[in-house]
């Protein structure tokens, strides 16, 4: 007997829930051959606002987890992707990547998460310090997560680049609101489903899909976002820099015009973790 086709409604993962855009708008996603694939939520600045609220709620709890536990959870996220690797590869292949290239990207994304999972309880030893001072004090510098980080992912390597941008931020206890690639949003939709089963508390990573032009002004000016980590063109960089100056946020802006190898080992580093940390230096009297 012929079955009715069961097609999935893509939803974005925000605050631990799968939602449609509050605007109820969608945009059509077509595969490389031009065939209609699905309607993707066209999120708005209000969805961004709601995602920031969700991230704010999740922030303190996530930052308070032990570094070891954060590592376990990042590792668990990698496990969840690994288990559905072929499905994820098919999602990447929608954009025209060969099956082999898509599989390679999924593997690299999993490895990237494992890489940062390993760093959670180690970066403090590298980035923190006991400083020499000429008085009977301990003087030490420790790191703290900044808070809520905005991420804007590029179109190339839609999964690997997205993960490379947000993983270092959550490694240290930040929470993230990320805008996925506009042309290839489907891997981010799938990733949401994996985040949901990864033990990562809801709201730590919030993924939006939609058009950059509608959301970049809000990414730039939102006072609650502490930093923006983005791959953006010249006009977007200007908008983000201006807005960030007004709201005093850090910008880590990679140029979309430049070719970037997301697979390279240089695309992952402890420096990327440092990008979304604040440093706190404390004087403490030496005990008798």
């Amino acid at each position: 007997m012929a079955r009715l086709p069961i097609t999935k409604t893509p939803k974005v993962y925000v605050g631990g829930a799968f939602i449609r855009s509050e605007s109820a708008r969608v945009f059509a996603l077509r595969d490389a051959a031009g065939e209609f694939f699905a309607n993707i939520p066209q999120c708005t600045r209000k969805d961004l606002r709601n995602a920031v609220e969700a991230a704010a709620k999740a922030g303190p709890g996530w930052a308070k987890r032990t570094a070891y536990n954060r590592g376990q959870i990042l590792y668990r996220l990698a496990e969840m992707i690994e288990a559905r690797a072929s499905e994820m590869a098919a999602a990447i292949a929608l954009g025209g990547a060969t099956p082999a290239a898509a599989a390679r990207e999924v593997a690299a994304a999993v490895d990237r998460l494992i890489y940062y999972a390993g760093w959670t309880d180690k970066y403090e030893q590298v980035l923190g310090n006991v400083n020499p001072v000429a008085a009977p004090y301990f003087n030490f510098t420790v790191t703290e997560p900044m808070g809520i980080i905005g991420v804007i992912a590029p179109d190339e390597a839609p999964l690997l680049a997205l993960i490379s941008l947000f993983a270092p931020a959550i490694t240290s206890g930040n929470t993230v609101v990320a805008l996925a690639s506009t042309t290839q949003p489907y891997p981010a939709i799938l990733l949401g489903e994996m985040l949901a089963t990864s033990d990562l508390p809801g709201g730590v990573v919030n993924l939006l899909t939609g058009f950059r032009a509608e959301m970049i002004p809000t990414f730039a000016t939102h006072m609650h976002l502490r930093a923006i980590s983005a791959v953006v063109n010249a006009a977007e960089r200007k908008a983000l820099a201006l807005g960030a100056a007004e709201s005093v946020k850090r910008t880590i802006l990679l140029k979309a015009e430049e070719k970037r190898d997301w697979f390279a080992s240089g695309a992952q580093s402890v420096d990327a973790i440092r990008d979304t940390l604040e440093f706190k230096t404390t004087w403490h009297p030496v005990g008798a």
């Binding site: 606002r49 920031v52 000016t221 939102h222 609650h224 007004e246």
Partner: protein, 313 residues
């Protein structure tokens, strides 16, 4: 043998004041959330809501210092001087004199005190009245009392009303707010009935108030609507205008605007001021300020740019 039956007493009261169509109310209030309030109307609504806030701290850990900072926040909610002060501060009766010292005698912000063994009301009437008198003597402009829910549910309506009357007398010039504690009345019918019992013995300009904020279920659009309609019907019958205060659970500006829409569409513009409508809240104020600042600057605001309000309620 004839026995006293609370059910029969309640039924007689329902027959007298009319019952509530629960489905109708629930459907009606869902519609309020669909109104689109933007730009100038939104600004007006937000500012009006600020002027309607009873900024509240009702915790065992309240101190004179904490009340003093609450009063400062009430007078000057934000560093933007164009933002008006709130309607009142709402504190425990033992804190009234500290609030009076912080606000001075000619303050734009009134002092409301919960009294009558808030939140349970389970104290002898004499004790409750003494608390009201003490709060008024210490400088309270408004008294928030709780009704005797036990007596209400037992069908002893005369006792409920007599106690409210006694508190009215004890209040003197102070405005009275009668807390029905809707979550303990259980049905819309009971809320309407209790509203009428209270309205018949309080004075024009006195309030009926949803809840103490100390139970699981607080002000909802539904029970707000039931009470607004009771006020409307009572006004149409008697010409006496009773004011309304939802309290507890109203935390966001969006919620507050939706409540104001309910007021506008049920009672009209005459109730859209702080003599006739209040919000019992604490965290609401900062969200209103955030949204006002957002309307002014165009940028979404972070909560930490606003001074801390009391975290209770």
């Amino acid at each position: 043998m004839l026995v006293r039956s609370p059910q029969a007493a309640l039924q007689r009261l329902f027959d007298e004041v009319g019952s509530v169509d629960q489905i109708g109310i629930d459907e009606r209030v869902v519609k309020y959330g669909t109104r689109s309030v933007k730009k100038a109307a939104k600004l007006w609504g937000l500012r009006t809501a600020v002027t309607m806030v009873d900024l509240t701290t009702l915790e065992g850990k309240d101190t004179p210092g904490k009340v003093a900072s609450l009063c400062q926040k009430a007078l000057r909610p934000h560093d933007d001087a164009s933002i008006p002060p709130v309607a009142a501060v709402c504190v425990y009766s033992s804190m009234v004199r500290h609030a009076r010292r912080a606000l001075g005698n000619n303050s734009a912000v009134r002092i409301a005190s919960v009294a009558t063994a808030f939140p349970s009301g389970q104290a002898p009437l004499k004790t409750r009245l003494a608390e009201v008198k003490a709060a008024v003597a210490d400088g309270a402009d408004e008294i928030d009392m709780v009704i005797n829910r036990g007596a209400f549910l037992a069908g002893e309506f005369d006792r409920v009303q007599d106690e409210i009357s006694a508190v009215v007398t004890a209040c003197g010039a102070a405005t009275l707010k009668v807390i029905l504690e809707v979550s303990e009345l259980e049905t819309y019918d009971s809320i309407r009935a209790a509203s009428f019992l209270a309205m018949r013995v309080i004075r024009p300009g006195d309030f009926i108030k949803t809840s103490t904020g100390k139970t699981s279920l607080n002000a909802t659009l539904g029970n707000n609507q039931v009470m607004l309609e009771a006020i409307r019907d009572f006004y149409l019958d008697t010409g006496v205008a009773i004011a309304m205060k939802p309290a507890g659970g109203i935390r966001t500006a969006k919620q507050a605007l939706t409540f104001l829409i309910a007021v506008k569409e049920t009672l009209g513009d005459a109730w859209l001021n702080n003599a006739r409508y209040r919000f019992g809240a604490s965290s609401l104020l900062n969200d209103l300020l955030r949204q006002l600042e957002k309307e002014k600057t165009g940028a979404y605001q972070a909560p930490y740019y606003f001074s801390e309000a009391a975290e209770s309620y």
